[in-house]
Amino acid sequence: MPKWYIPVAIVCGLMFVASPLLIANAPYEATMGLVQKIFYYHMPSAIMFLVAAVVCGIASARYLFAGAPHQDRVAWAAAELAVLFGIITLVTGPLWARKAWGVWWQWDVRLTSSLMGWMVAVAYLLVRQYGGAGSDKLAAGLALFGMANVPFIYISVNYWRTIHPATSVVPTLPVSMGFPLWFCLTAFVLLFVLLLKLRIYLEEERARLDSLYLSIEE
């Protein structure tokens, strides 16, 4: 693992420890009250889910068109993180919604397209695991289509009548709410980088194992 890993991990851990304090001191939202504080973890997770999908898509494109094996590892790692952050988003969201909207789930465009994007990430992992030979390219093709879904997820909430808050919420946050949000978002970005590197490390070790097996057979 590279030299920056442990210091960044410590910083990230400390940020996560500090975040509940910041969140608790943030003001309540007028209509949603206490439950709105889920926002400070829900929104960064959602952003990391979309970022992971885009990273997976770009790495897959580079793998398909340039053939770099490292990009294939990045793509697989990013897909796992997309599933992870996606499931966090899809669970924290309904927990918030149960109180704020009165229902666990709504088939509006933001939720539906996010769920479908998450399922594409799960499908990617299934293909890698059970697809047999050639599944790396298959999954890369799938990831490209999944990435095309991402801008749709993000802007959909501005063009369709939906109950989910619009993207104008974040830029117009008052500082008292904005600071904890950006703090948590930074913590999540650091966490994403750490987890991505860790997962890529696993793939690199697997590749090393494969080459060892090959050298034994010679």
């Binding site: 693992m1 890993y5 442990i6 991990a9 410590i10 851990g13 996560f16 420890v17 509940p20 304090l21 608790a24 001191n25 309540y28 009250g33 206490l34 439950v35 504080k37 889920i38 973890y41 829900h42 997770s45 796992e80 992870l84 499931i87 966090i88 669970v91 924290t92 927990l95 918030w96 149960r98 109180k99 009165g102 966490l191 987890l195 860790l198 997962r199 490390y201 696993l202 070790e205 697997r206 090393r208 194992l209 060892l212 097996y213 050298s215 034994i216 010679e218």
Partner: protein, 108 residues
């Protein structure tokens, strides 16, 4: 790698316990009182009107949902780190075994 894993696990445990210990700085009762005092302006009440049950919106304790959300986030992240670390451990053990074998039999 095992020191790294221990470090990561320790940080995660620290975060989890901090989340529980620090939590919302006030208890649930105070939260409700604060929300009510900041709530919409109402007419001064002349009499109390009893109702049998809270309306559905008031029945859900928000604190429970909030804590559930944060616990889920931390648990999911922790489980993922454990999963990756376990897989790395399996692969590393295998690599070490193969390298030992190669060293013994002499590299081809």
């Amino acid at each position: 790698m095992s020191t790294l894993r221990a470090l990561v696990a320790a940080i995660m445990l620290l975060v989890a316990s901090a989340a529980f210990a620090f939590g919302p700085p006030v208890s649930a009762d105070n939260v409700v009182a604060q929300a009510q005092s900041q709530g919409p302006k109402q007419e001064q009440q002349n009499e109390f009107t009893p109702i049998e049950q809270l309306p559905p919106q008031e029945q859900l304790p928000a604190a429970r949902l909030l804590i559930a959300a944060y616990v889920f986030v931390l648990a999911a992240l922790f489980l993922y780190v454990v999963s990756v670390s376990r897989r790395v451990g399996v692969v590393r053990r295998e690599v070490q075994r193969l390298e030992a074998d190669l060293k013994r039999t002499g590299r081809a």
